[in-house]
């Protein structure tokens, strides 16, 4: 519930903040404006009153008419007139009007001042006429302040609370809706275990982020299921492969023991048993190695190796075992900079991988020439092994990395089907890539890419 409550909290706090800000700024700016407005009104009143009061010339008469005609009666309106004789009278005046002394002094020195006591507004101006200075103060109660401001306040608070309630409901509803699909995914994924790997998450029609999440989880489950199946196949294949020579041994022994035979016949049987036992030993060795390399990565020592030197070594080794093997090196596209052929690898493992691939290339092409090409891209050393052999049928290309898989056209050739899976595991351990392309009856090309030790900058 944590993420859900978090979203609700964030949404609600932001709503509160926004509404508060909204309400407060409205109140503040409105009240500011009306205050200024009212003070202006009072100022005009004060000025007019001063003029009427002090200017006893003819020009004041139109002002009086003006006052009577245009100035509405303000509640509690009051005009005060003081003739300034000396500044000592200020505190007295202030006390009389019940206004602070600063207000009076301000009028004198700044020519005008404002003061407000609750809803009673005071505006004072300094009126100078006929050589004398007078303080004229107009005061009245701000109607707006009394009636409308409070009402506005109340309305704003009420609507704010209402909006808050709605936003709470919306926030809660939204977050629930958003998190529900996530909860469904969690529930469904809990059901999937090693027995029920075939289960998949349901996908909705709309291709949004949650769809992508479900889709990716399903893809991951596909990969896991495939590797599970591969493992299962491996075990069943392995046991089948191991049983075959054992069956042959037991069969031969049974037949030989069924009746009395000649020493030559016994010798023959024992020879066959030895051969089959050796086959079994080889298979078990290969199997162990495959299993070992798959898991004990750390046991292998990785060092800096020149790939071309390694390949020469492999060729020399192979020629000792299979002198009929013909390997030609194509150095057309070798990089000028030999540093680009320096890779970080386990000598033993890579020798094994390349020996397997090269001996395969020779074996399945009846020992016609195998071409090994070398090159380097920006980050990888590229090794291409091309043979003109029997090739691999197109439909079977996806099975070549399965342990013990042998293609349908390998009938007349010896082999256990371990070479390529082993090579792939080894290449993977080196963070490399292996690609096999083949056309049946034409040949097979194996392309390997192994990361260079120090990828250099653009050369």
């Amino acid at each position: 519930m944590k993420a859900q409550t978090k979203t609700v909290l964030i949404l609600v706090t932001s709503f509160i903040g926004i509404i508060l800000f909204f309400g407060i700024s409205i109140l503040w700016s409105v009240s500011n404006y009306t205050h200024d407005d009212f003070y202006k009104l009072l100022e005009i009143r004060a000025f007019t009153a001063a003029k009427i009061n002090f200017d006893t010339t003819n020009s004041s008469i139109p002002f009086k008419d003006l006052q009577e005609e245009f100035f509405s009666k303000l509640p509690d309106e009051q005009d005060y007139f003081f003739t300034i004789t000396d500044t000592n009278s200020f505190p007295l005046i202030a006390h009389k009007l019940q206004v602070p002394k600063q207000f009076i002094t301000q009028i004198y020195y700044n020519k005008k001042a404002e003061y407000k006591r609750k809803e009673l507004f005071f505006k004072g101006i300094l009126y100078q006429t006929q050589g004398k200075s007078h303080l004229v103060i107009a005061s009245a109660i701000n109607n707006f302040q009394v009636h409308y401001y409070d009402y506005l306040n109340k309305i704003l608070i009420n609507t704010a609370l209402l909006a808050l309630t709605f936003s709470l409901i919306t926030a809660f509803y939204l977050s629930k809706n958003f998190f529900k699909p996530l909860k469904t995914i969690t529930e469904k994924t809990k059901l999937i275990n090693s027995e029920s790997l075939h289960l998949r998450l349901p996908l909705k029609t709309e291709k949004d982020e949650l769809y992508e999440l479900s889709f990716t989880i399903n893809a991951m489950l596909d990969r896991i299921e495939t590797s599970f199946e591969t493992q299962n196949n491996f075990v069943s294949n392995a046991s089948h492969e191991l049983r075959t020579p054992l069956t042959a041994i037991i069969g031969e022994a049974d037949v030989a023991l069924s009746k009395l035979r000649t020493p030559e016949e016994y010798q023959q049987t024992l020879q066959i048993i030895t051969i089959e036992a050796e086959k079994l030993e080889n298979k078990i060795k290969a199997l162990l190695f495959l299993a070992q390399t798959g898991f004990n990565k750390n046991l292998q020592k990785f060092e800096s190796i020149r790939i071309d030197q390694l390949l020469y070594e492999v060729r020399d080794n192979l020629l000792r075992i299979h002198p009929e093997l013909k390997i030609r090196f194509n150095l057309d596209l070798m990089p000028e900079n030999p540093e680009k052929l320096q890779i970080k690898a386990s000598h033993q493992l890579l020798m094994l991988a390349f020996s397997n691939i090269l001996s395969n290339a020779g074996k399945y092409s009846n020992y016609s020439t195998v071409v090994v090409s070398l090159g380097a891209t920006e980050k990888h050393a590229v090794i291409v092994i091309k043979d003109a052999g029997i090739g691999i049928p197109k439909e079977e290309l996806k099975f070549i990395y399965d342990p013990f898989f042998r293609a349908s056209n390998t009938g007349s050739f010896e082999g256990y089907g371990i070479g390529l899976p082993l090579a792939q595991t080894i290449v993977r351990m080196h963070q490399g890539e292996i690609h096999v392309s083949s056309i049946e009856h034409v040949g097979t090309t194996v392309e390997l890419k192994i990361p260079i030790l120090k990828p250099l900058g653009r050369s």
Binding site: L333, T445, S459
Partner: protein
């Protein structure tokens, strides 16, 4: 002084044969600046004029095998190649091509004889007619047709076999 040479490419590894041949045959002379140009017709629509991005288009048309193959070649002839550039030519008449040649300061254009033009996308067009009529010398390379089936066609391994 480096020499600038131009090849037409259709983003297949086949089109890199020419580079291999020229560089293999060149004596230890000055380094080459190689331009691989591809003819592309672009729309007159506002969308195309405003949002045409050469780099993105090239990225779309070239695949990993092609890019890797260019790298392999650059590494092999590191001292002979000053730079290898892939560019698009989007003009539609001879004058535009002449301007292009001048801007790039191309010294020589290489064409492979009897090479079929393969369009990389529906807007591609063949530049060979422009090559023939241009003022820059065009050299023809003779290449045997490789009719053999190749399992590695289209993959990086192809560059090694060509």
């Amino acid at each position: 002084m480096s020499k600038t040479i131009l090849f037409q490419t259709d983003f297949t590894l086949d089109s890199l044969r020419g580079i291999k041949k020229v560089l293999a045959g060149a004596a230890d002379s000055s380094p080459f600046t190689i331009i691989l140009v591809h003819g592309l017709r672009i729309d007159d629509s506002i969308n195309e004029l405003l949002f045409f991005n050469k780099a993105k288009k090239i990225e779309q048309l070239s695949d990993n095998a092609f890019k890797d193959a260019c790298k392999v070649l650059t590494n092999k002839y590191a001292s002979k190649i000053e730079s290898l550039e892939i560019d698009l030519f989007t003009g539609w008449n001879q004058n535009a091509f002449t301007n292009y040649i001048e801007a790039k300061a191309v010294d020589c254009i290489y064409v492979i004889q009897d090479e079929d033009f393969k369009a990389a996308c529906s807007q591609s067009f063949n530049l060979s007619s422009f090559f023939r009529k241009s003022a820059v010398p065009t050299k023809v390379l003779f290449e045997e047709e490789n009719s053999m089936l190749q399992p590695e066609k289209g993959k990086l391994a192809e560059i090694f076999i060509l």
